[in-house]
Symmetry: C3
Subunit: 130 residues, 3 copies
């Protein structure tokens, strides 16, 4: 298992981690890579890797879905972030073939930060084909 | 790794791909199957396989969650589709035992199209138990 | 593959299953564990394991996201539950290292019930590192 750290720039931010994940799986053959975020107010998702306006639109749409001013009871005041993290999920699984992540042409891997700025840890676990 | 193509019929449509995934894992024993969609405006999900009204209701509920007329900035005009794709996720992982997908009685696997009609590719990667 | 049953207490409830999953992976080394829910009105998610108000807030936020009184057509009247199940997902994948689930300090694994109270089944499949 490999891991790396990511510094997130704002409270809500999708940070591209494709290069770090690609480096972490180097030299492995067939199977899949699991990208795992061991946090409860951040998640991981796969989405478009070219136009940065897509990330901005995702951040805006998630804010509208789960506004931070819902009548939450958790005293830390970040229940919206916990909810958004569960909507994105804690892991992404990507097939590996010939030692390469089988991402589509327009796909990138994003750490989805919902309670930053913070330093986050990401785990990458490679799984074997039979 | 296996792959197959799916033609989606409308802009938003949940297309049953259970039969294609079942065929792709044939002959494998213990572990899990990863169903992966290498696109950024479509995802994959598992849901009820009998009453087609559930799929229609899912499509309607997702439209309500992320309306296409939010004030998005991405010029291609499909940011709602990118957001819905991340809500569903790019992969589904299903345990394999005795060479069979361990789907529940009422579960089917669906390609979740949010910017069709299009031809989509689906990858199926089998992972081994220890 | 291992499996266990969980009794859920209400229509919507996040039930902590971390202890059962930890027991199911005991003795395995490197790789990952897949926690799978073979139902279509319940899912699985990873979130904060200390303050129970976070779970209550998650339940409330999901009710707001997909109200049960949307104009659904499915006659069983539980289409909101099907939609919430797809938003959470049917599986969670957690890296294993040295025989231990690599959960973060504040992470727990939750069965996300949306149409209870019921008895639900959970599958745990261990996958091997290369």
């Amino acid at each position: 298992m490999r891991s790396f750290e990511v510094r997130t720039p704002r409270r809500v931010a999708f940070v591209d981690i494709t290069a770090q994940v690609t480096a972490a799986v180097e030299g492995h053959g067939e199977g899949a890579a699991v990208v795992y975020v061991p946090h409860t107010t951040a998640g991981v998702t796969i989405n478009e890797n070219v136009d940065p306006s897509v990330r901005a639109d995702l951040e805006m749409a998630l804010e509208r879905l789960v506004p931070s001013d819902l009548p939450f009871t958790h005293l830390e005041g970040n229940s919206d972030a916990h909810t958004k993290a569960s909507l994105m999920g804690s892991s992404a699984t990507i097939p590996l073939a010939g030692g390469r992540l089988q991402l589509g042409t327009w796909q990138g891997i994003y750490l989805a930060e919902f309670d930053g700025p913070r330093t986050r840890r990401v785990l990458v676990s490679v799984l074997a084909a039979p």
